[in-house]
């Protein structure tokens, strides 16, 4: 077994970090931060398949995150479904929506695709804010705890392991997908869509497929967030959250699964650290975003790897 490939060594390293991290988490606050990182990382690993590998863009993934969160919340709180069934039904529903929306939308290219996904996200967000009988409107709604086989899952320490396990599973899935024929098809698309089609790749099918997968990742992360925090507000469905997610992917490094995880960790931690700056927080956050992208246009991890590889030579 070669331990230097991402599929073995990388995954082992990630699992080790997740296993050992609790030693450094001194109180519940840091557990909460770690869980938040994990949730964002799950969405970003999925989104990176779409942005980094297939070369498409989505400025509306917070919409899928929100559909997952509110789907689970509404089915379990308003209709009394068991949370596990609500999660499964919601994920399937979001996959179906992504499939229906994805087919026409993914024919668009570049900035037109950015606009279409952005519009889709905003429409979802407006529907959630407006249909207040179901969703509680701008005030949000409370969500019952997740129960499995009669056990109620609650508390930061329990959810840390659930989210950590899901993240390892998500990364494992993504790494395997990339190395599969379907993943190679995606990367070919990124290089040249016409070129890929000439080589016999069904471009629309491949793009829609990865769009649906990334939407399901976001939806599952949303459902878990809803049950973990016990309360959900439309803030997580907003345009800003979509932007945040894309920024994490690009910040960490496009077309690098571990880059997406690192980007999620960095951009979740940064605002926590910047709170000491109080009113200067926004200015510094914006400046960090701009300067990172100027100096590391490929993102943190790929730029770092490139620098390391150069040194070795």
């Amino acid at each position: 077994m070669n331990w230097r490939t991402p599929r073995t060594g990388g995954l082992a390293l990630l699992a080790a970090v997740i296993l050992l991290l609790p030693l450094a988490l001194v109180n519940n606050y840091w557990y909460e931060v770690a869980i938040l990182i994990g949730i964002n990382a799950i969405v970003c690993v999925g989104l990176n398949l779409l942005i980094g590998y297939a070369g498409q863009i989505s400025l509306g993934h917070a919409g899928f995150f929100g559909l997952g969160a509110y789907g689970s919340a509404i089915l379990s709180a308003r209709y009394g479904w068991p949370p596990a069934a609500a999660l499964a039904a919601t994920t399937a529903g979001v996959a179906l929506i992504a499939l229906l929306v994805g087919r026409p939308i993914l024919k668009l290219k570049g900035h037109y695709l950015a606009m279409a996904t952005l519009g889709m996200g905003i429409i979802i967000s407006i529907v959630i804010v407006t249909e207040d009988r179901l969703t509680g409107g701008p005030d949000g709604m409370s969500v019952p705890a997740f129960t499995l086989f009669g056990m109620s899952l609650a508390g930061e320490r329990v959810w840390y392991w659930i989210i950590g396990g899901t993240l390892v599973g998500a990364v494992w899935f993504a790494l395997n997908l990339i190395e599969s024929p379907a993943g190679r098809a995606l990367r070919a698309l990124h290089g040249s869509e016409v070129g890929a089609q000439v080589s016999g790749i069904d471009a629309t099918r491949a793009k829609v497929g990865v769009f649906v997968i990334s939407a399901m990742f976001a939806s599952v992360a949303g459902s878990m967030t809803a049950h973990y925090s016990g309360f959900i507000t439309p803030g997580k469905v907003s345009f800003f959250h979509s932007i945040e997610l894309v920024t994490m992917v690009v910040f960490g490094g496009m077309a690098s699964t571990f880059g997406a995880v690192i980007g999620a960790a960095a951009l979740t931690l940064l605002p926590q650290l910047l709170t000491v700056l109080k009113e200067y927080e926004m200015v510094v956050f914006g400046a960090v975003m701009v300067s990172t992208m100027i100096f590391f246009p490929r993102g943190l991890l790929p730029s770092l790897m490139l620098a390391l590889a150069r040194k070795r030579k």
Binding site: M115, G119, S192, V250, E279, V284, G286, V290
Partner: protein
């Protein structure tokens, strides 16, 4: 025509004119650099907020407005020089993130320089409504429509008749060929950002007496402007104006006849519907990929 319909149309035209100005800003920058500047809405905010603060400091509007527009233009040029130019050759997504980062930075600066409150600007010539065809229109709306019309004519003259304008058009068609013909492409980039920022600022100043202004007013206006630019077809000046006006009218009719809660959603539903049938907007060029 019923009075109610006339009223919706007038309101829609006013808002649409503002969207058109913002969309023109998107189109000009896109043509010069193929960058979508997500900080475009912040110029709208800077225009409105700077005018309000200068007017409150006792300056007459005739002085405050040019100073505010020049401030926004300077910010625009600085954005091009320090954020967009160093990232030349980066991917589309990277450039989008850079301009979004810049917009967060500018909003943060606005809360430091000014504050997080809502501000009102005095209407330019009173607030006595004027009756037209059974509907009423604010004098400020006439200002919005008149100034927008003047700007569109002025831009038409600039791009069609002046050497600088033609140089900008040439750069949008083929930067390398333009450079070989002696066009200073770097200058065109800076000029396009300065020009778009001025257009945004003018839009922000014109609308401030009607809708109030604040540090975060640029977010939604920027998105709607982007939507208008895409609706008309990216890079097309006519498209930007038509897209802006259509969006404004559709929103106003939608809010009046369908549902005011879904007003903002209507704009985006229309965009999705149009893109479904015309993937490069109403006036956009059909793109072909070279293999």
């Amino acid at each position: 025509m019923s009075a109610q319909l006339a009223q919706y149309l007038l309101t829609g035209l006013t808002v649409g004119a503002i969207y058109a100005l913002v969309a023109l800003g998107f189109a000009i920058i896109y043509n010069a650099s193929h960058v979508i500047n997500f900080a475009q809405g912040e110029f709208v905010m800077i225009g409105g907020m700077a005018t309000v603060s200068l007017a409150n400091a006792g300056l007459p509007l005739l002085v405050a407005i040019p100073v505010a527009v020049l401030t926004a233009a300077a910010v625009g040029v600085a954005l091009a020089k320090f954020a967009v130019e160093p990232a030349r050759g980066a991917s589309v997504v990277t450039l989008i993130i850079i301009t979004i980062g810049a917009s967060i930075l500018l909003r943060g600066l606005a809360t430091l320089v000014w504050d997080k409150k809502l501000h009102a600007l005095q209407p330019f010539s009173g607030d006595q409504p004027i009756a037209i065809a059974g509907a009423t229109i604010l004098p400020q709306s006439l200002w919005v429509l008149g100034v927008t019309l003047a700007i569109v004519l002025l831009l038409g003259w600039f791009f069609g008749r002046t050497l600088t304008g033609k140089a900008m058009l040439a750069t949008s068609h083929n930067p390398l060929a333009a450079q070989l013909c002696g066009v200073n492409v770097r200058f065109v980039l800076l000029l396009s950002f300065g020009l778009s920022a001025s257009l945004g600022a003018i839009a922000g100043i014109l609308i401030a007496p009607i809708t109030l202004t604040s540090w975060d007013v640029g977010v939604m206006l920027g998105l709607k402007g982007f939507a208008a630019a895409i609706l008309g077809g990216l890079g097309s000046g006519t498209g930007a104006v038509v897209g802006g006006l259509l969006l404004g009218i559709a929103e106003s009719l939608g809010a009046g006849y369908v549902s005011s809660a879904y007003k903002d959603a209507i704009a985006f539903v229309i965009i999705l519907a149009v893109l479904f049938f015309k993937p490069s907007g109403l006036f956009g060029k059909k793109s072909a990929e070279r293999v």
